[in-house]
């Protein structure tokens, strides 16, 4: 029997020891601003959060187990379903890990195309973030504007690979297609359109009194806290630590393009908002530099490694040995060397790492995905106590978490 003044979530074996009038609120898993299936168990003193226990696992699909039972190429489309806001960055993280394991060298044109897609997906992801975050905080207009621009970026993806959400636009060893005719022109159009759009969002939000009141000095993550909790990406740079994997451990051609890494010492939600806006501008800058680079490259788009990667279609159709190898690679899958590798890339949300342990079989022996959102969600138990209930929504929205990659 329940005691008076002793409310307990009856289906949960959590113990909140208290004798006072604290209330326990179940925030989610079905809540419009829980950004997926996040269940937060909050203990409230009035409107002040005194204890927070995030509960995850409502979208768990066992992707690591799936990976252990699939050939490498089969698993690639599954990575789309992790961070479904920016699927290309997942595809890329996985492909890069396998390429590192094999020791493949990707042709330059493929690198340029990959970078274009990566930066575009960064923009779509950030646009989605600003849209939903503003909606959570109460600015509906930004949502409508940002989704319009996101649509243009998705059109570009659609023109390239035919899909809008689950792209699988990057393959192990390169990219499947060269850029379609006129794609560059549409990209230039998009690049020219974006600065005005970004100015619109900032015009709506930067000096907006409500926006500032709800974001300034809310969700303060000190640099020590960010390091200890393993934050990465904008969550880390918002705390004054300039660490961008594209800059520090450059992959692809990031060492050849010029871009800045926005950092702020504000440590609060508003500072992170400014970083996201600035990062979109930097992405546009990278895209601009990539356009002339694409023209200068030779047309190869897949790595030449007959043991691991199928030959180009033309060769398969004309040469017997290529056809045989293609058949083996499709039916049995490639067998990477024995060893292990941990490869990180800077996904829009932070450090996306793939650990692959290969025993020379067509299936990885163990594949562990280090997804940034997982670590950004675990910080809530430390960050939320001491905040008001209304700010919880801001903090969740600001952390840019996606449940596809938390639960995997």
């Amino acid at each position: 029997m329940q005691k008076v003044n002793r409310l307990q979530p009856f289906f949960e074996n959590l113990v909140f020891e208290r004798e006072d009038n604290h209330m326990i609120v179940n925030f989610g898993p079905q809540h419009p601003s829980s950004h997926g299936q996040l269940r937060l168990i909050l203990e409230l003193d009035g409107e002040l959060v005194t204890k927070a226990v995030p509960d995850i696992g409502y979208l768990h699909r066992g992707m690591e187990k799936m990976a252990e039972n699939m050939i490498y190429n089969e698993f690639l489309p599954t990575t789309d379903r992790m961070d479904y806001i920016a699927p290309t960055s997942n595809n890329y993280g996985f492909s890069l890990a396998v390429e590192k394991l094999i020791g493949l060298d990707v042709p330059r044109r493929a690198k340029v195309i990959r970078m274009m897609l990566l930066e575009l997906s960064r923009i779509t992801s950030h646009l989605f973030w600003i849209a939903t975050h503003a909606l959570d905080v109460g600015a509906m207009t930004v949502f409508l504007y940002a989704f319009r621009e996101r649509e243009y970026a998705m059109d570009l993806f659609e023109d390239y690979c035919g899909a809008r959400l689950t792209h699988s636009a990057i393959r192990i060893g390169g990219v499947p297609l060269d850029l379609p005719k006129d794609w560059i022109n549409s990209l230039i159009k998009f690049i020219n359109k974006m600065p005005a759009a970004l100015a619109t969002y900032e015009g709506l939000l930067d000096q907006n009194r409500i926006w500032k009141m709800r974001l300034e000095n809310v969700g303060v993550i000190s640099p020590e806290m960010a390091q200890s909790w393993g934050c990465s990406g904008p969550m880390l740079r918002g705390s004054g630590i300039a660490w961008d994997i594209r800059k520090e451990e450059p992959y692809e051609l990031y060492d050849e393009v010029e871009f800045d890494v926005p950092v702020t010492n504000r440590c609060d939600c508003y500072g992170r908002y400014k970083i996201y806006m600035q990062e979109m501008r930097e992405s546009l800058k990278i895209l601009k530099q990539l356009i002339p680079m694409h023209k200068e490259t030779t047309p190869e788009i897949m790595a030449d490694a007959p043991k691991y990667i199928s030959a180009p279609k033309e060769q398969i159709m004309t040469q017997n040995y290529s056809l045989m190898q293609h058949f083996v690679l499709i039916t049995q899958g490639m067998r990477p060397p024995v060893g292990e590798v941990y490869v990180v890339t800077e996904s829009p949300k932070g450090e996306l790492g793939f650990y692959i342990n290969s025993q020379g079989d067509p299936y990885p022996y163990r594949l562990k995905v280090r997804t940034p959102s997982f670590w950004h969600t675990s910080i809530f138990q430390d960050l939320l106590p001491g905040q008001y209930l209304a700010d919880v929504v801001t903090i969740i929205g600001n952390a840019n978490i996606v449940f596809g990659e938390i639960d995997r």
Binding site: Y152, W229, P337, Y355, F374
Partner: protein, 265 residues
């Protein structure tokens, strides 16, 4: 007779393998090829037992003994400036040697280096939690326990994280069947209706393309479409698509009323 399956390894297996095929190795370099790593490993060696150390793909891999894990991590954070714990997880070698291989993936932003600390533990051996040093170990250790059943002491809230609390067994072990074990298959039915209802409800239909022709509640029948919930008959049902008083269905599209864009805005 039931088909034979290896109980120790329930994973999918390559259907063809060449017994004479020797797979190449990812090269391991000696530690002295990198000055920073060499310094790190020397200071580690002076205090702890280092079983093996090499550089693979630009990252230092160090094997320590399981008992030292807390001390090594403290040393790495305070003295060697590895300020991030990127990831913790395990690799299941139970079938081969009855052991788990635990790895801690570390990052030092000041040195711009990544290293991996590894050790082996027996199946039921306990390891100390490193949450007191790196808070990021909190959920990672819970996940490791949830997925592999690695026992961890000193964690403030050791509970399953992704699977339900009352789940049976640990899904990422190689012994865990791919379609789930018996408990997993009957999990919802046991929980909602009780064990005795297993017979009443029957096993889960796992053929995702299965069509029951007589069920007009869930299927619209393939040969000819029928309205929702009509009685099954082998004869074709006459259907009126325009419901009385319903929203009119557009049958013919007038091209003149439609605006077609020349190109995308």
């Amino acid at each position: 007779m039931r088909e034979y399956s290896d109980k120790k390894n329930r994973q999918a297996k390559a259907y063809y393998s060449d017994r004479f095929y020797l797979s190449p190795q990812v090269p391991k370099e000696k530690v002295d090829t990198d000055n920073i790593f060499l310094k790190d490993i020397k200071s580690l060696e002076s205090l702890f037992v280092i079983k093996e150390a090499y550089i693979q793909k630009g990252q230092l891999v160090v094997y320590i003994s399981a008992k030292d894990n807390l001390k090594v991590m403290k040393f790495l954070k305070n003295k060697l400036k590895y300020n991030f714990l990127s990831d913790i997880s395990a690799v299941d070698w139970l079938a081969k040697s009855g052991e788990f291989e635990i790895f801690y993936q570390m990052l030092s932003t000041s040195k711009r280096k990544r290293m991996r600390v590894k050790f082996f533990i027996k199946e039921k051996e306990e390891i100390k939690s490193v949450t007191s040093i790196y808070k990021s170990a909190d959920w990672a250790e819970r996940e490791m326990y949830d997925m592999f059943g690695v026992r961890i002491t000193g964690h403030h809230f050791m509970k399953r994280i992704l699977m339900p609390d009352d789940w049976h067994d640990h899904p990422l072990r190689k012994t865990y069947p791919l379609i789930g074990d018996e408990e997993a298959q009957w999990y919802e039915i046991d929980k909602i209706f009780g064990r005795e209802y297993r017979d009443v409800i029957g096993p889960e239909e796992r053929d995702c393309a299965k069509i029951v022709e007589k069920d007009t509640h869930r299927f619209a029948r393939i040969k000819h479409e029928v309205p929702f919930g009509t009685k099954y008959s082998s004869e074709e049902t006459q259907t009126e698509y325009q419901e009385e008083g319903g929203i009119p269905i557009v049958r013919k599209l007038k091209k003149s009323d439609v605006k077609i864009l020349k190109e995308r805005p």
